[in-house]
Symmetry: C2
Subunit: 230 residues, 2 copies
């Protein structure tokens, strides 16, 4: 067993905390709980395109899904398109979850190459890490925009493996999203699930290889699987 060389990290929700976006919904006169159907429907529509062998940029899919959610609301305090842009702009102001710095350091100190791999833009992931002062822990940021298919389409993982120059069994993908750990496993990668909210793992997806309540816990579980030097 060759051991892991690369850890791919999902970005939206796995590294970044979306909760501050709720205030942006409130600021345009929309219910804060719309964050949840918005993010779910953005992924739904991106995955629909992937299932249909197509793709569009994350921000365009997200803006289109948001228009559909906000258009019927009676209480918007600004014109629809302004409301859409004000919420979407919040994506470039997010911070990482509090457990992320320690988790990234554990992975890097463990000798693994740390590569965020996002359904969003690579520049957005890079800026998130720079705002958090963590970019030196990361080799580079990758995006499905250069793969032609969103995760969890097999072509996305194949693209990331190719860019990193490793075989599937030399790479792990870590995510809070079961659809991502499932897709990674179907492509032969090791998978790790962050269960920050203490919820059941959906039994329709392939189970993750390692799991834990936050990134440090998953990092430790991953490193414990590494072959020991003699």
């Amino acid at each position: 067993m060759p051991g892991l060389e690369v850890v791919l990290l999902d970005v939206n929700e796995t590294l970044s905390d979306l909760e501050p976006l709720r205030a942006r919904f409130a600021a345009v006169g929309a219910p804060e709980h719309l964050l949840d159907p918005w993010f779910a429907s953005t992924l739904r529509d991106g995955f629909a395109l992937a299932a249909g062998e197509a793709a569009a940029p994350f921000l365009e899919v997200g803006a289109a899904a948001l228009r559909t959610l906000l258009a019927p609301l009676p209480g918007l305090t600004v014109p629809l398109e302004d409301a859409v842009q004000q919420v979407v702009a919040g994506l470039s102001t997010l911070d990482v979850h509090p457990d992320v710095p320690e988790g990234l350091r554990l992975l890097a100190d463990g000798g693994l190459r740390v590569v965020p791999f996002s359904n969003g833009a690579a520049a957005s992931a890079q800026q998130l890490l720079e705002r958090a002062g963590l970019s030196e822990l990361v080799e580079r940021c990758l995006s499905v925009e250069d793969a032609g298919r969103w995760k969890p389409h097999a072509r996305s993982y194949a693209y990331a493996l190719g860019e990193c120059g490793v075989e599937p069994e030399q790479a792990a993908l870590l995510a809070v999203h079961p659809w991502d750990t499932d897709g990674a496993r179907r492509s032969g990668l090791v998978s790790g699930w962050l269960d920050r909210r203490d919820v059941p793992y959906p039994d329709v997806f392939l189970p993750p290889d390692v799991t834990g309540p936050d990134l440090p816990a998953v990092a430790r579980a991953l490193l414990a699987r590494q072959p020991q030097l003699p």
Copy 2:
């Protein structure tokens, strides 16, 4: 131009009205607005499997997504699994939208073969139409469960065309869901979008061939495209 022979109809939300499910969330102590992220995340997870060349039954994907949404709630009035089953059971009690009977009659009177084609079970679609007294207007109900891939994967539409014995250009797919009209068009079918909520069509998807505010309007627009007998 040979003209249309078959109209495939999406079922969940296109024929059935999901709104009564909100009361089932309230009855187990959950916010009614969870209906929206639940349905979006059910589709998200089913599409993720399709993008990964896999599939699971709609009710299993829906129940797993619901567990994830309900598990963190502090105020459930029944045990988690009871809450999940009580909400999911509501899917088999739904009615059709008020505009559906007239729409189905227009399609059938126009000489088209009417075939509901669901991401759920064929029996569920059949029972929905029987409860509404509309099953005599329908040739048969089809499900992606027999295709091995959910819509909008190309294999799903190919399955339905094969079962109906028609070429793509002889079939239309009608849906309230832009991901379904997009997928149908990518597979060569005519597509019709029901815009019951008067929202913008997401510009990341291929536009529908016909559109209207309800099923009769879309049916009329579709029939108006049919070649006239000399």
